[in-house]
């Protein structure tokens, strides 16, 4: 336990002195803020149009501005993190190997699982820190809405993002353990994410194949969360995903001992 904490602590420190982390967080917040603004204006405009229509034709449609904005915004976030997380995970193991510090870790009385979990949870923490300010936009919107929408929608949405993010981070960490070169790690991770994303497009295919693709797509499981529904099958999917890649990373580290050439 102490070892896990030592690794966690070290990783967190490295994130906060590394320019990469700040640039990623900065970009992420900038882009998300821009789109929040955009969605909010667009949806409000739509709601005015709908209201005018209803005045013309009688029946007043219910226009849920906060809900629409949240759904759009969370959808954007889920796409945005596909692009940002490769940069957060690229150095996690690749850098250790390059610096030679992997030799220190592997010859110390610390188990591989402690190393991997320490790093993984540190990246999760960083991710949460990156995400938190965006929640403030939505909270602000909520507080200015009448009636105030149920908070569990917001919580469910962010829970979904965290799970999606966690899965991507686990995958990115695994890929980082395969190479010494950060750039290659980033590119491979990005390709893997794209692949997952593309899987989602296969949902239009018919039959069993279509269902399998749908199940494997990380984004698809996310949709329910965006609607405020916490779906147990999605929970299982995401947790399994994370566990799988953490496990694979531990194996990959272990195999480093055998891989020397």
């Amino acid at each position: 336990m102490r070892n896990f904490y030592a690794i966690y602590r070290k990783e967190m420190r490295h994130y906060f002195v590394s320019p990469v982390a700040y640039v990623c967080i900065g970009l992420f917040l900038l882009i998300s803020a821009f789109f929040f603004n955009f969605f909010l204006s667009a949806v409000i405009q739509q709601s005015f149009q709908a209201e005018m229509q209803s005045m013309q034709f009688g029946a007043p449609p219910q226009f849920d501005v906060p809900g629409e904005v949240m759904r759009a915004f969370l959808g954007l976030l889920s796409t945005l993190i596909l692009f940002i997380t490769p940069f957060l995970t690229m150095g996690v193991f690749a850098e250790e190997r390059k610096r030679g510090t992997m030799e220190l870790l592997m010859t110390s009385p610390i188990s591989e699982i402690q190393i991997v979990l320490g790093k993984f949870f540190a990246s999760l923490s960083l991710f949460a820190v990156m995400l938190l300010p965006t929640a403030s936009y939505l909270v602000y919107m909520y507080l200015h809405s009448d009636p105030v929408p149920p908070w569990r929608l917001l919580l469910a949405g962010y829970a979904g993002i965290m799970l999606l993010g966690g899965s991507l981070l686990a995958l990115g960490t695994f890929i980082s353990s395969l190479t010494e070169n950060q750039l290659i790690a980033a590119v491979l991770t990005f390709v893997a994410f794209l692949f997952l994303w593309v899987l989602d497009l296969g949902h239009t295919s018919e039959g069993v194949f279509g269902s399998v693709l749908q199940y494997l797509s990380a984004s698809r499981h996310y949709d329910d969360f965006a609607r405020g529904i916490i779906n147990t099958s999605a929970l299982i999917y995401y947790f399994s995903f994370m566990v799988l890649f953490v496990f694979l990373t531990v194996r990959s580290i272990d195999s480093m001992r055998w891989r020397r050439a």
Partner: protein, 320 residues
């Protein structure tokens, strides 16, 4: 404390370590001497658990390095070829981190880190970021991390590389000071280092052990007795004849110096014979001016080269 039996490591067709066996006793300093690529680093990496051997066994403090790797790692401090430092951490933070992952209990950590810094003279640099340190200081940090948890066994891969002469002396004294309480293996290709710090030497070449002994035994064992160098103003043949006549001489080599034109002769003697005064007397007897007379013992350099070079002519050339 350390027992290595028939240790072998091959990568495909290349055998980096070839049936190496040796032991290190508790409190001893063992030198691992060999040219680059001899297998020193590979052997150390096997001992520390960084990579597995192809065959053979190695035990540290009674624990098998492969079967009981965790336990072995608790007992060792290791400095790899390149100091495994994190550039973005300060010296103190880094050593604290290493202390943590080496299972130093929280109450002792600060004391141990301070102690490690004191021993390696890093105290005034404790708050400096490692990336700002010079090579020599980084190396010292590397040594400090090998000591911070006060391990029973310390394995150092070329500990003095990159240090200036003053620092080298400090490190050697540090290592000597650690013996007794700690068992140490250090590898190097700097020969004087071995004769100055080590109790015993293992000479390794191309993965095989060429010799195991104390530095003193190695120097005296391999080439019989002493060599004596004389610088004389004399005709070559006459000098040769005169010197050969001195009892105890086994061989005379002479060469004329380019500047000044004096003759330099190297006289090899039989084991145990000290014929310096006899030589001096002979030269004076013949009326030749004697400029220099001194003993030249076969250095570790020469033994090393002899043992690790295939070409006999090389060894011959270096004997001068």
């Amino acid at each position: 404390m350390i027992e290595v039996q028939d240790l072998t490591k091959s990568y495909g067709s290349v055998t980096a370590v070839d049936h190496v066996s040796f032991t290190v006793n508790k409190g001893e300093i063992l030198g691992f001497l060999g040219p680059n690529g001899a297998g020193k680093t590979t052997t150390m990496r096997i001992l520390t658990g960084y990579m597995p051997a192809t065959s053979g066994t190695a035990k540290i403090a009674g624990f098998d390095v492969f079967g009981d790797s965790m336990e072995v790692r608790r007992h060792i401090g290791y400095l790899p070829e390149a100091p495994p430092v994190y550039p973005d951490m300060s010296v103190e933070d880094y050593l604290d981190f290493v202390a943590r992952i080496k299972n130093v209990p929280a109450e002792n950590r600060v004391a141990r880190v301070t102690e490690a810094m004191r021993k390696t003279n890093l105290e005034d640099r404790r708050a400096d970021l490692i990336k700002r340190l010079s090579r020599g200081y980084k190396q010292r940090v590397g040594i400090a991390q090998a000591l911070v948890h006060d391990p029973d066994v310390i394995i150092l891969d070329e500990p003095t590389v990159g240090l200036d002469p003053k620092q080298i002396i400090e490190v050697r004294n540090l290592i000597k000071g650690l013996a007794g309480d700690h068992t140490i293996i250090l590898s190097t290709h700097i020969l004087p280092e071995v004769s100055m710090t080590c109790d015993r030497v293992v000479i390794i070449n191309k993965g095989k052990i060429a010799a195991v002994d104390t530095p003193q035994n190695l120097t005296s064992q391999l080439k019989g007795g002493q060599k004596i160098r004389v610088e004389v103003d004399a005709p070559e043949k006459a000098l040769r004849d005169a010197l050969t006549q001195v009892p105890g001489t086994t061989r005379v080599d002479a060469e004329r110096l380019p500047a000044g034109g004096h003759l330099v002769a190297i006289v090899e003697t039989a084991q145990g014979a000290d014929i310096r005064s006899a030589i001096a007397a002979k030269i004076v007897q013949n009326g030749w001016p004697l400029f220099e007379l001194r003993g030249v013992s076969l250095s570790l350099e020469e033994i090393f080269l002899e043992l690790t070079t295939d070409d006999a002519a090389h060894a011959q050339a270096s004997a001068n």
